[in-house]
Symmetry: D2
Subunit: 345 residues, 4 copies
C-alpha cells in the first residue's frame, strides 16, 4: 500500500510499504479516509523523533472505514466509519479501565507512527490494536473533518485547557496560536473564561484568535505586554501550546498569583531553566499534558455537535496523501497560512 515514511530530517517520502493487516484477534484494519499532520509530527520531520528507526510509516491522526476485524472485536464491524484515538491502550488493565490510557500497564501510552513498533496512519490503511478500545464509531451528526480533529488535537487542547484550572469569570492567556492554541482559546471561553489573551509572533494567527474573541498580545511588543501587566491583567490560567523555552518563559511571566500554567504538546527539552523563585513567589502550579484521547470524547462530542466548538475551522489545507511531503514542508515553514494540514486518500 502507499504511505508516508520517514527517512531523515526533512525527508518524508510517499512510497509503497507492506500492506497493513490484522495481526491479532483484538485488532481491526481501517482504510484511511483522511489523516492529519500534527505539530508533534514536526519533531520527527525535523529529525528529532522518538526513535532511531528509519523507513517507518508516520502519522497518528486518522479517520476511515473498517475493512476487516479480528475475531475478538465486539463493538465494530466491517463498513463502520470510525475515528481512531491517537493514544493507544490495552483496555484491560486497571488504568485503562478507569479511562487513563496513558498509564496503561501494558504499553504505557503507545502511539502510532513514532517507529516501526506501531506503524502510522498517514497511509492508505492502518492496523488498530485493541480496536474495541482504541477506535469508536464516528458519532451521528459529526463530519469526517470534525471526527479527525477529535483523534488528537481537540482532546489535547481540551486537556491542556482543563489542566490550566480555568475558573468561571477567569482571565486566561494562551501562548502559541497553532491549531491547538487557537482551539484552546475557544475552549477557554466555553469553560467560562471572561477574558482570553492570545500571544503569537505571527500576525495572521493573532488575527484568528481575535476572531475567536481573544485579546491579541504581540510577544515582540514588550511595552504593550508590560502595559497589560501594569493593568493587573496577569492571568489565573496560562496555556502554553508550543513547548519552546521562550514561550514557556513568557507563559510563566503572564501567570498571576496562585495561577496554573499548563503546557501542551510534546516537549523534549532536557533542562529548561525554570524560574523557581518566581514560581514560588506566585504560588504557581505547572502542569504537563499527556492525553488519554478517548476519555474526553463524552465531553467533546456534544460540544462539537452543538457547534460550541468548531475544530474543523482549523483546517487550512487539504491535499492528496501523495502530496504529503509537500504538506509537511509547508506546515513546517508555516507557509501560505498553513495551520492544520489534512491528507486525503
Amino acid at each position: 500500500m502507499k504511505a508516508l515514511t520517514y527517512h531523515a530530517a526533512k525527508d518524508i517520502r510517499f512510497e509503497t510499504i507492506p500492506d497493513a493487516k490484522v495481526t491479532a484477534p483484538h485488532a481491526a484494519l481501517v482504510r484511511v479516509k483522511a489523516c492529519g499532520i500534527c505539530g508533534s509530527d514536526l519533531h520527527i520531520y525535523q529529525g528529532h523523533g522518538f526513535s532511531d528507526d528509519v523507513g517507518f510509516c508516520v502519522g497518528h491522526e486518522a479517520v476511515g472505514e473498517i475493512v476487516e476485524v479480528g475475531a475478538h472485536v465486539e463493538s465494530l464491524k466491517v463498513g463502520d466509519r470510525v475515528m481512531i484515538s491517537a493514544s493507544v491502550g490495552c483496555g484491560l488493565c486497571a488504568p485503562c479501565r478507569a479511562g487513563d490510557v496513558v498509564r496503561c500497564d501494558r504499553n504505557a501510552g503507545g502511539c502510532y507512527g513514532l517507529s516501526h513498533a506501531l506503524p502510522g496512519c498517514q497511509a492508505e490503511a492502518v492496523m488498530v490494536p485493541h480496536a474495541d478500545h482504541n477506535a469508536a464509531l464516528i458519532p451521528e451528526g459529526l463530519t469526517y473533518d470534525q471526527a479527525l480533529m477529535l483523534t488528537d488535537n481537540l482532546p489535547t487542547a481540551y486537556l491542556g485547557a482543563k489542566n490550566a484550572d480555568i475558573r468561571p469569570g477567569g482571565t486566561v492567556a494562551v501562548v502559541g496560536l497553532g491549531p491547538i492554541g487557537l482551539m484552546a482559546v475557544e475552549i477557554a471561553y466555553a469553560l467560562g473564561a471572561s477574558r482570553v489573551y492570545a500571544a503569537d509572533l505571527v500576525p495572521e494567527r493573532r488575527a484568528m484568535a481575535e476572531k475567536l474573541g481573544a485579546i491579541a498580545l504581540d510577544p515582540g511588543d514588550e511595552k504593550a505586554l508590560l502595559k497589560e501587566h501594569t493593568r493587573g491583567a496577569l492571568a489565573g490560567s496560562v496555556i502554553e501550546a508550543v513547548g519552546a523555552d521562550a514561550t514557556l518563559k513568557l507563559a510563566l511571566q503572564l501567570a498571576g498569583k496562585q495561577a496554573t500554567v499548563s503546557t501542551i504538546g510534546v516537549n523534549q527539552t532536557k533542562q529548561f531553566p525554570f524560574p523557581m523563585a518566581l514560581a514560588f513567589n506566585k504560588g504557581l502550579t505547572f502542569r504537563t499534558s499527556l492525553c488519554s484521547v478517548m476519555v474526553h470524547w463524552p465531553d467533546l462530542v456534544p460540544m462539537v455537535r452543538s457547534g460550541r466548538l468548531k475544530p474543523e475551522a482549523m483546517i487550512s489545507h487539504r491535499m492528496p496523501l501523495a502530496d504529503g511531503a509537500h504538506a509537511y514542508a509547508m506546515f513546517n515553514d508555516r507557509r501560505d497560512g498553513a495551520l492544520k494540514m489534512v491528507l486525503e486518500c
Copy 2:
C-alpha cells in the same frame, strides 16, 4: 423615613418608620438607590414568612450610596456607591474568614427584611452591619442595575448551577423560568453545557429561555416531554428554581443516571414525598443551595462586565418605592410579564 412594611398576607404598606441609623461601630448607613423584590419575598407577601413579626421593613436586595460609617469601618467611606450582600456574616469567625458566610458562627446566615431583627432594604435607607464584609464598592464598569442583580439573584442562580455539577458538553434541564431560572439557563451555557432544556408553564417565559438558546419544554405537554425522554434526553444536571412539589418531582424525573439535581431558593416544605427508589436506581445527588453571596463576586463580576452574563436583562419593571405594594401584587400574580421588579428611591 419611608419604607415598605409587612402587616399581613397581601398587605404590604408604604409608610413612615423610624430612620435607619448606624447602631454599631462596624455598621454603615446606605441611602438606597434601587432595591429588588425577590421570589423569596413572595413567601412573606403570601403570609408564609419566616417570623410572626408584623410591621417590619421588608426586602434584602439593594444598591445605594454610603451616607454614614461607624468608627470601625475601614474599607468604605461616605459617598461610596455600594452593593449590599443579601447574606450577612460577621466577617470574623472561621467560616466567614473562609468565605462561607452562611455558616457564620455568630448569626448563622442572617438576612435583611425577614423580621424586626434586621430591618429590610425596601426603604429610603438601610443599616448594613459589619459593613466591611457585607457590602462592597460597585466595581468599575458595572451599572446600578447589574450591581443590584449581584446582591442576591445572580449569585443564587450561579450557586444553583454550580451545585448541579454541570460538566462541559453536558445536558442541563432548568425547571422554573423566573429570573433565577432564566439566569441559570445563561449560566449553564457559560459553564460549558452543550444543551439546556427549560421548562415552565408560562409560554412567555419559555420564549425568553429560547432566546437564551434553550430548548423549551412544556411541563403540561406530557407527550412531548416523554418523546424527549425516549430520545435519551435525560439531563446530567437539573436545576429546580421554584421549590414546589410538582417542580421538584419533574426535576427528579428529568434527571438521568448519576445526575445531580440542584434546588434553588427558599423551600418551606416539611415533608416532600421524595422518590427514594428512583433516586437510588439513578444514583442521584440532590443539593439545596444556601448562598454566601459575596464569595461569588470574584467569579461573577468579570462575567457581567465582559457581557457573558446579562442579569440586567431580567428587569421587567421599574417603579418608585411608593408603588411597592402594587409591584408586589403584580409580581405575585405574574401579571403583565412581571419578571424582576425594581423599586427606585
Copy 3:
C-alpha cells in the same frame, strides 16, 4: 450443580440447578470458592426483591477459580484466582471505558442473582459475562476473605464515605452499623476524619464501632443524642447505611450546616417524607450511591494490603453453601451476632 435459589419470602433453598456455563465468547466460568450474603440480599429474602421471578439462583458476591474461558477472553486463563465485581458492565461503551459501569449503555448496571436474567453466585459455579472487565485476578498479598469483601461491600462502603464529602479533620456520623456501616467508620478515619459518631440500636454493634475508634450514639437515648447536639457535635458528613425511613430521618438530623448526607445501599421506598425546609435551612447535599465496584479497586487494594482497612474483620460466620438457608435466617434476624455471613463451597 448445587446452588441457593429463591422461591418465596423466607424460602431460600439449597438445590440442584442446571450447570452454569460459558454462553458467550467474552464470558468465563468461575468455580466459586466462597460467597457472601449482602444486606441487599435480605430484600429478596423478605420477599421484596427486584423481579417477580422465582427459582432463580441468588447472590452477587463471590471469589473463586477460573475453570473455563470464552474465546475472546484476553486477560484471564484457567486456574486464575479471581474476584468478581458485583456490578456488571460491557466494558466497551463510553461510560464503561471511563470506569462508570453503573451507567453502562448496554445493560445499565446489571447485577447477579436478582432474577433469572443473570444467575447468582451463591452456587458451586457462576458465569461471568465480559469477564475481562467484570472480574480480576486476586491481587498478590490478598486473602480470599479480603478479596470477597472487595467484590461489593467494601467498595460500596467506600463510595458511600466518599459521597459524604468527608474533609480532613471533619466530624462524621454513621447511622446503622452492619458490615457496611462499620467499614464506613474505618474508612472515615482513613480519609482524615477527626471524630466519627456511630449510631445503632444494637449495643454489640455500637461496641464494635467503639473498637474502631468511634463515639457510640444510642438512637434510643434521646437525651444523650440531644446533649451531643447542644455541644455542637453536628456532623459535616453523615453516612446512612440502612435505608429505612427512621435512619434517614436521624441522618438528616445529625447533619450540620452545609453538610452532606450519603445514603448507602438499596432503597425501595417510593415516597420518603423528606424534610425539605430543614435541608434548605442547613444547605444540605443528599447523595445516593450506585457503586461501580471495580473502579474503586485501585484505591482499595493497597489500603487492604497495607492493613489500613481490615474488611475481613467483618466476617462473623462461615459455613458450607449447603447451610445457606440457615445463614440467611440468622443474618435476617441478626441472631448470634450475625454480621457478615460467608458461605464456602
Copy 4:
C-alpha cells in the same frame, strides 16, 4: 524590649530594640510566650534573606497573650491567649474574604521578620496588624506548643501534602525530613496514603520517619533506590520539603506516571534545570506552596486536638529567647538532633 535581630550572615543578636506597640486601630500587641525558628529563617541567617535591611527583628512563628488592642479590634481582648498566623492579610479585600490571604490585594502576602517593614516575633512582644484576621484564640484543648506549630509549619506541611494530590490508597514519597517533611509523612497517612517513602541523608531523621510508619530511603544508596524503582514503587504524590536542586531532582525521579510533585517552602533559585522531557513523558504536575495559614486551621485544629497529628513531637529543643543566636547556629548545623527549635520568653 529584648529581641533577636539580623545583622549579617550568621550574625543574629539578642539586643534591645524599641518596644513594639499598637500603631493602627486594627492592630493588637501580643506578649510573646514562645516563638519558633523556621527553616525559612535560615535563608536570612545564611545571608540570603529577602531584603537588604539590617538590624531588623526576625521570626514569624509565635504564640502569646494579648496585652493591648486597637480601637477597631472586635474579636480579641486583653488577656486572650492567641496564635498568630505567619501569613498576614488585610481581611477586607476579595481574596482575603475568600480565605486566600496570600493573594491579598493590599499587602500581597506579607510576613513578619523579613525586613524592617513588619518586625518579627522573636521578641518579647509583637504587633499584629489587622488582628481580627491575623490572630485567633488558641482553641480549647490545645497547648501552647501545638498552637505554635499551627502558626506556620503544620499548615505549610498540610498545604504541601494537599498540593501533592494524595489519593486514598496512594503511594507517597517525601524528600527531606526536617520538621515539615516529617509532618508531611504523618499528614500523608492521615489523608489516606497506604505507603509513604521518606528520603533524607541523615539517618536519625530517617529513623524518625520510620517511627511515623514510613519506609526510609537513603538518597545516597543509589542501588536500593533503584531497586525500589524497579519494583514499581514510583509515587503518585511526591512532597519535596527542602528546596535544593538535588532534592527537587530526586523528587521528580521518584514521581510516577501522572503524578504530582509538590515543593514546600521558600525557594530562591533563579534557574532550576527542569527536566521537561521527563515531566512530559510522565505527565507530571508540579506545584509550589504559598500558604494562607489561617484557612487551614478549621481542618487542622480538630486533627491536632484528636491526636491524629502530633506536631508538637517535632520540638527537639527549648531554650530562652536570650539564647537565640545559639539556637540558630544549632539548627543551621543540624547539631545535636536539632529539629524544631522553640524560644521561650
